[in-house]
């Protein structure tokens, strides 16, 4: 069986990620071009609003692949068969100003984790702990997971064992950073702005990055590349975007690859489907969805019908 100990750890990560994280990778550098200027702060301030718009009533399918990488003909490639996880996530925003979220994430594969479901209620109110429930068929019960209050009280965690961490998927909290536009450049053949974010003293205690540099497509306002530096000013991670699509008027990074330059391991996250404005019944975001497969699959099929 899949050990509860391992799921417990994954649950803590999922609690902090879930649907919003699957989407926030997109929004960390994807925003409305017509309203953004070259002021880095102005650009990033739009991210939170955008994220809320794209996570509300959303149905997202993702594929997360990880492998050790090497160099072949001056190209980065896997040196082993990648590990692949398929995820489905559904969520809504609710509460005051729609800043609280309810979402459920189901692992589709690999076989050893198939059917593992996670229900998350996240609260915007400071000091109010998020809530997470997990269903494991081997345990035969829904289990509440103690996980603390999001990213504020614990170190960054890996997303499903990948190179993406909670910190990489974090958005907002712009007051914690000094944001500078470093200049203009060319990345992947497209003109970009180079935007630097530097954590303040309080944020620096919680992050392993002392500096991040984003390469933002000037026309499509998508981050084509990001570099993360550690306390020794050494680049430790690199994020590359390889697929950019326009979804409902917003250019969106659908495939992003995070390379860990220390361990030589990379993870690629692909949003195979991003569906927003889906009519999601509120009773779907309850514990029933975790235990009742007939109910879950029937409701998911109705949601899929909306997408066609």
């Amino acid at each position: 069986m899949l050990k509860p100990h391992l799921i417990f750890k994954n649950a803590r990560v999922l609690n902090r990620l879930a649907l919003s994280a699957l989407l926030s990778l997109i929004t960390t550098a994807s925003f409305a071009a017509s309203e953004a200027g070259t002021n880095g702060r102005d650009i990033l301030e739009k991210l939170a609003d955008y994220q809320r718009s794209i996570t509300d009533s959303a149905f997202v399918k993702s594929r997360l692949s990880s492998c050790q990488y090497g160099i072949k003909a001056n190209k980065i490639t896997c040196v082993e068969d990648p590990r692949v996880k398929l995820l489905e996530a559904v969520g809504i925003n609710y509460g005051k100003e729609h800043k609280d979220t309810k979402n459920v994430t189901i692992v589709v594969s690999p076989a050893a984790e198939k059917g593992v479901g996670m229900l998350n209620y996240t609260y915007d109110e400071p000091g109010k702990d998020n809530e997470t429930w997990l269903y494991l068929s081997a345990l035969g019960k829904v289990k509440r997971i103690a996980s603390g209050n999001s990213e504020d009280d614990s170190e960054p965690a890996s997303l499903f064992g990948s190179e993406f961490t909670t910190e990489d998927t974090d958005t907002g909290k712009l007051d914690d950073y000094t944001i500078n536009v470093l200049g203009e450049a060319t990345e992947a053949g497209r003109p970009v702005w180079k935007i630097e974010t530097l954590p303040n003293a309080e944020r620096a205690r919680k992050t392993r990055y002392t500096r991040t540099v984003l390469y933002v497509d000037k026309e499509r306002y998508v981050s084509l590349r990001a570099e993360m530096y550690d306390k020794q000013a050494k680049e430790v991670k690199r994020l590359l975007t390889s697929k950019v699509d326009e979804i409902k008027g917003v250019w969106t990074a659908r495939s992003q690859t995070m390379m860990n330059l220390v361990t030589n391991r990379l993870s690629n996250m692909v949003r195979t489907e991003i569906n927003t404005d889906v009519s999601i019944p509120e009773d779907f975001l309850t514990q029933r969805t975790l235990t009742d497969v007939a109910f879950r699959e029937t409701t998911l099929e109705k949601l899929r019908t909306q997408l066609k």
Binding site: P4, H5, L6, F8, K9, N10, R12, V13, R63, S66, C67, Y69, G70, I71, K72, N74, K75, I76, T77, C78, V79, D81, P82, R83, L86, P110, A111, A112, K114, D129, E131, A138, L139, G140, K141, I145, A146, S147, N149, D153, E155, P156, A157, S158, F160, G161, A188, S242, S255, L261, T263, N264, V270, T272, E273, Q287, R288, D292, V293, A294
Partner: protein, 477 residues
Amino acid sequence: MVSIVVILLLALFCATSNADQIQKKTSATPLSNDLTLDDGLSNSLSFDGQEPVMEKTASFLDKFTFKLSQQIYAQINPHTTASGVEKQPTIEDNRLNVLLKYQNSFLPTWNVQGSAQTKIYWPTDYDYEQGRSSQAIELEQRVESIESRLNELFISKSFTNHTLKLGRQTLVWGEAEGNSVLDNINTLEYRDFSIIEMEDARLNQWFIAWDYFNEDLRASTFVNLNPQFNPLPRIGSPAYVPIPFNITDPDKDKYKLEVGSRLQWSVAHSDIALMAAYLYENPLHYATPTSMTGDIIAKENGYWLLGASANRAMGKLLLKLDLAYSQGLLADTLTAPQTAFPFQGSSSIRKNQIAATFGFDYALSNEQSITASVQARAFLDRTAGLEGGESTVSGDIFGTWLIRYSHSFNNGNLLFTSDNRGSLNADQALTSAMLSYTLSDHWSIMGSVIGTFATKDSSAALLDNDVRVGLTISYSH
């Protein structure tokens, strides 16, 4: 052994087959800014814009998952147990296990799911020749050294606020996983010491289960028309003790029924449940004969259970509490030797019992967690009704403790777990350490060490000072 080596070599081959053609980068070498993702990698990892992977037409086989495991366990400590039995190192388990699972939502609001397992016992396994159930296990069949069992098979139908499940399934009550005073519905089989966790030892039963959902309120009711009992240790298994008496089976002709209901609701950071049930005790109680020619009689016993459970999340800490009041349980007793019979006999007397489990989960970090619980039970009016020379086996308060620790490394690919448990009166304990490594999405390998300790008066005296080591290689798809 040959099969293990072949499987291991195959796993290593699959894990490394692509590595020899590509230059591995070392962390000492900075990654050039000019490097881009290989097209092949990008396309193979990424959505190609034409056919999202998850949109493939589901095939019949997609509804199945299977796991193939080769397992070998050995007792390696030469010693004499507290009960005076001399033991030499020996292989106990050497078996190939195939687990097949099926799930199919074949119509809107309908779902069917099931699982079955087949074990092939190799010649060094204790179960190869002599192993067989002391008591029949439902839906288990054996042909030569191959044994199969249907674990789970149920169909469910969901309505607007209701769900009906009919078939062989698992029902679990209580918050304290592995040590709850309320987790009494399913039967268990600890066939040998390759399985030490209750979650892995469950034998499903045939239930009609009805669930009602209304916002945060959940109500569920079950009926079991054919209650089963925990089987005795397998003949030849490490826990088997030869007895010069026949042990009777439970009365198959006696009509038995289990029924129970549970009401659950959630408030801020807590889940609460109340439950009531009429159940049969597991395991069975046994009465020894009063003459050398009698049988050991299995005693079935129905009783009423009233329970409550609750949890409370406080940051990284989750507190768990289970409470139970049982009316009409059997308390095991020892009787003075009869005049013509030199041995002390065992019997039982009906008593009421209160019980509680208190425990917690604590996330030490993203990679480490600890779970602990203590279960305590007490019979009310323990000595009332005893005959002259008769005494209860248990003390005023008895129970068990459980401590589990886990630590994951390498993005979760390497997992260390330790499971430790024992009795409150310290007459028996088990400690284990397991290290599992996930080689790929399909292959994993696990090594374990399990130690068991007991006093000479303990029911586990035969297992005193045993040390078992095990290796399991698994392929899942």
